[in-house]
Symmetry: C2
Subunit: 202 residues, 2 copies
């Protein structure tokens, strides 16, 4: 088996979907978490100036969704055919659209703009969550095809980060998403990973 090393900040956020997938695939990996003060040194060594970066036998690849999809293919979580793969991909991109709306105010330093962006997110995010909740309801308790996929793992892995930016539980009112969360957290490989991962707020 190739050697795997995941380099990221000492948080869950965009690294956690990859860590969930490596854990689910039973791929041992070096969980390389660097201090924020070292980022300027690390940034130029990454493919596009971003982390997470996965090294597979020393070959570096970037972009969390691209990496997650690659790992999902290796452990049967990427859909049973191209059509399901498409529906899974579209769901993941929509989860990241939600993240972008939250990040737009969370990382804004100017208080006036922050309030404006917060207002936009407060309108748009529930629109997405209603649709994602209905999607789980219509697909046998999972996002796609009545079976676990990397869309489910991505959503649950990134939820702490989304809630952190939102300052409250985004899925409180969404029963199907809440049930999906419980289901994913009870997958033995995920449960085991969570029990041993380092503590971090986001």
């Amino acid at each position: 088996m190739p050697s795997y090393k995941l380099t990221y900040f000492p948080v869950k956020a965009l690294g956690e979907p990859i860590r969930f997938l490596l854990s689910y695939a039973e791929i041992p990996f070096e969980d390389d978490r660097f201090d924020r003060e070292d980022w300027p040194k690390i940034k130029p060594t990454t493919p596009y100036g971003q982390v997470p970066v996965l090294e597979v036998d020393g070959k570096k690849v970037a972009q969390s969704s691209a990496i997650s999809r690659y790992l999902a293919k290796q452990c049967g979580l990427a859909g049973k055919d191209d059509w399901e793969a498409l529906l899974i991909d579209a769901t993941v991109d929509t989860i990241h659209d939600v993240r972008a709306k939250l990040a737009a105010f969370h990382y804004e330093e100017d208080e006036t703009y922050k309030a404006t962006k917060r207002k936009v997110a407060d309108e748009v995010v529930p629109f997405y969550l209603e649709r994602l909740d209905a999607q789980v309801k219509d697909n046998g308790g999972y996002f796609v095809g009545g079976a676990l996929s990397w869309a489910d793992l991505t959503f649950v892995a990134i939820l702490d980060y989304l809630n952190f930016m939102n300052s409250s539980d985004l899925i409180e009112k969404y029963e199907n998403l809440k049930q999906l969360k419980e289901k994913v957290l009870n997958v033995p490989a995920i449960k085991s990973w969570i029990s041993k991962r380092p503590e971090s707020e986001l």
Copy 2:
């Protein structure tokens, strides 16, 4: 062959990578372009309140990258193995990171905020473009594996939109990206599509 219908605003932007791929794959499709005033009526009929939406035999799917990847698999533009597929996916996501940086100021209505976001984009975008240009140089004149992929088609299809937001030619200084553009525009199926597509600024 299933029936294909692409619904989008009457512009290139996020619809054009899909139109390039449908053209390359020689898939006949209904190019459904709606007037902006009809958007409020159409929005609730889409999977996530967004376009482009592709209908395949009446089944609607959203998210431009997810749709493009699905079509790319059908015409051999998604890499020769999972590793190449990963590198292509990472490249496409990085192209969309560039788009997001440009969109952050382009769609901002507050002039002060717009100027701040423009400054951020002016710093970050060249950083990405240098890396993408070097990537083409290092990979035989294409983004991945010395062969045409949907990353190349996506970049060239979306470039008019990126340049429109930027108000000037983003790749003027990047010789490898300029050569890639010429190569893609000279692919017979793409050339034929461009010669017959409706005119639009972005």
